[in-house]
Amino acid sequence: MSTTANNTENENATATGKLGTYLEAYGELIAERQERDPVWLRQLREDAWRRFYANGFPTTHDEDWRFTNLAALAKTSFQRAVKGSGTVTAEQIEGFRVLGAGCRLVFVNGHFAPELSDVCDLPNTLEICSLERGIAKAMEGSASNGSAPVGCAPEGIEQHLGRYADLRRDVFTALNTALWDDGAYLRIHRGAVIERPIHLLYVSAGAGAAIMTHPRTLIVAEPTSHSAVIEDYVSIGDETAFSNAVTELVAGQDAVVSHFLVERENLAAFNVSTLRLELARGTNVSSHSILLGGGLVRNNVHPVLNGEGAECLINGLFVGAGRQHLDNYMLVEHAQPLCSSRQFYNGILDDRARGVFHGRIVVHKDAQKTDAKQTNRNLLLSDDARIDTKPQLEIYADDVKCTHGATIGQIEEEQLFYLRSRGIEETSARNLLLYAFAAECLDRMPESPAREFVAELIRVRLTDLAQNHQVAVLAAPVEEETQHWEEVR
């Protein structure tokens, strides 16, 4: 009996032991921010921290994490990066530039780097600043009772931050909410058309220890505005790091917003990104996720269609090789009638890479005439690559149209031979076919500098893949996966 008790105690001890570095980081951060954080934010952090600390990291027994084992993440002790850790020069990040971008905010290990950022030429209909500055300005503003400083009128922050991303459902959102150091705040004014994409570059740069960052982004797209935002995760060096990002994007009535997530960190990186989209009436919001890098990646996309006639496109491409693990978790909530959502995810997996596509659609009671579609197509380039795809439907309205389909296939020998029979060398032929498959994802993006940018990243990644892949393919027809909706009641 006593042995059992001891074991339990030990387990508890290790469980808190594992969360120990997080507890330390939280204590440190709260002490630092005593003066800086407004009361509402302190409360939000505290609430979030309690959620996280009570639950810890999920295991594969949790249905939402069935295909992704977080043991490696949980057992690494990550340090919170202090400001100024990991020095990054302008030359080092020059290669990450997005041609045609309107402005760029750069964050190094979670902290805003104004000297690397580029916010000149801003139209006055766009407010952009680091979240921390926005809050600081709001504090000054309320202290002096004066008007908000130029460049950023941060009154929207309190109104929106933490209102959408659900820290009760998801411990990573809770962890981010408790521990974020900085991030971006964007407000696109009513009716503004921002032609050039806004580039948010999150850099992890080795600081001698495994570091963690919790970037937090808030995008408020006011009614009838048009804009595009690229959230871009990169690393310098090959040290391991943990980025746990949360973005809330609030689209006002009839706003049009494109959001791009680019994951191109090193293969030792852990990346959990949660994108929470709030769609008002008549909005047209698209999320494009391009996962090319990272060792263990979890991409959460959670749109709530919360106004009649809202349209949401959830588009993605994940390309994995080696031992990469790329998990896509979609939760599409239809809360109001006459909305449409389109999910299209394409996966390419080589070597021992593993992909997950979990597409869950929830249609609430009032969401009559919902039109929801989901497609997941996968190419497996090796026998050891693996994809788990799981469609899930939870439906409380009676007049809805939902369809889903998933395919898993290989490069078709017939197509490869056709290209080669015309003189195209095998590697190029394979590359062309991979690119054609990936291009389905690009074709769903409007023509823009953002699309050009991701197209080039994809081209480079696939060229690598085609070159590394020398295993002969056998004739293998694409098999239709006969997977049915899992009905949840």
């Binding site: 078709e412 020998e413 017939e414 197509q415 031979f417 056709y418 290209l419 080669r420 029979s421 015309r422 003189g423 195209i424 060398e425 095998e426 190029s428 032929a429 062309l432 076919l433 690119y435 054609a436 498959f437 291009a439 389905e440 002969a472 004739a475």
Partner: protein
């Protein structure tokens, strides 16, 4: 030296022996036609010549322009001048038709140490040849063969041939599925390319095509072997009497 010399070719697919000792010699400038019943191995021969890896050669020798064709990968054979117009051209979603042909042309040009063509040089040429084949302009940017009608696919094969200018063009039932107008157009495209440096191997079941493309030689392929060869008149006879052995070859029944 013959352009193509096939000696005692044996080949199998998925364990089944399909070609069982085939001999054939083709000289530059000649047009040969191969006829024969379904399943006799015509497409298998075409696939072996185009170096499809799923077709395994178990015996024999094939020389193309004096080089060992069986040592070549499909892309090498293509660069050396072998072209196969497929019986069933495959659809390739996501790769543009013109882009594909330009990539192929440039791969071949590179092989021969020539400069690559850019889109500006390429497009006028491509469109001009499309016009000869009476193909719709809108096919330029469509994905390779995707959503093409049967006839459009076949014309697209001939268009590729016209662009790549091979030394040996193998046409595998390019006529099947074509209406009479399309057949005439395709034949016009082929005839325009006939010349002393180029040879054709035309696989067909029908005399109809050979009315437009007159062959120099006709061969009958039965059960993996060429059983008869002759001039253009042989095709007419086959149409009349089928692929069975000719009367001359059959022992006369003894009178009672």
């Amino acid at each position: 030296m013959a352009l193509l010399e096939i000696q005692d070719l044996h080949a199998r697919v998925e364990g089944h022996e399909i070609l069982k000792g085939l001999n054939l010699t083709i000289n530059a400038g000649e047009v040969h036609s191969i006829m024969g019943p379904n399943g006799s191995g015509k497409s298998t021969l075409a696939a072996v010549l185009a170096r499809r890896e799923t077709y395994e050669v178990t015996r024999g020798r094939v020389l193309f322009n004096g080089k060992d064709l069986l040592e070549m990968k499909p892309e090498d054979a293509a660069c050396e001048g072998v072209f196969l117009a497929f019986q069933y051209p495959v659809e390739i979603p996501g790769i543009g038709n013109a882009y594909f042909v330009r990539s192929a042309m440039n791969a071949i040009r590179k092989f021969h140490g020539q400069d690559e063509l850019d889109a500006m040089d390429f497009l006028p040429l491509y469109k001009e040849r499309m016009k000869i084949l009476e193909m719709d302009d809108k096919l330029v940017n469509r994905s390779v063969n995707e959503g093409f009608s049967g006839g459009e696919k076949k014309r697209n094969e001939i268009l590729q041939m016209a662009m790549l200018e091979p030394k040996l063009a193998i046409l595998d039932e390019t006529d099947s599925g074509l209406d009479i107008d399309a057949l005439r157009i395709v034949a016009k495209g082929v005839n325009a390319m006939r010349g002393p440096d180029r040879a054709f191997l035309v696989i067909t079941h029908y005399q109809r095509l050979l009315d437009y493309i007159t062959p120099d030689f006709v061969h009958v392929l039965v059960d993996g072997k060429i059983v008869r060869s002759g001039g253009p008149e042989l095709a007419l006879e086959l149409e009349d009497k089928g692929y069975g052995p000719s009367e001359a070859d059959v022992p006369q029944a003894l009178p009672a």
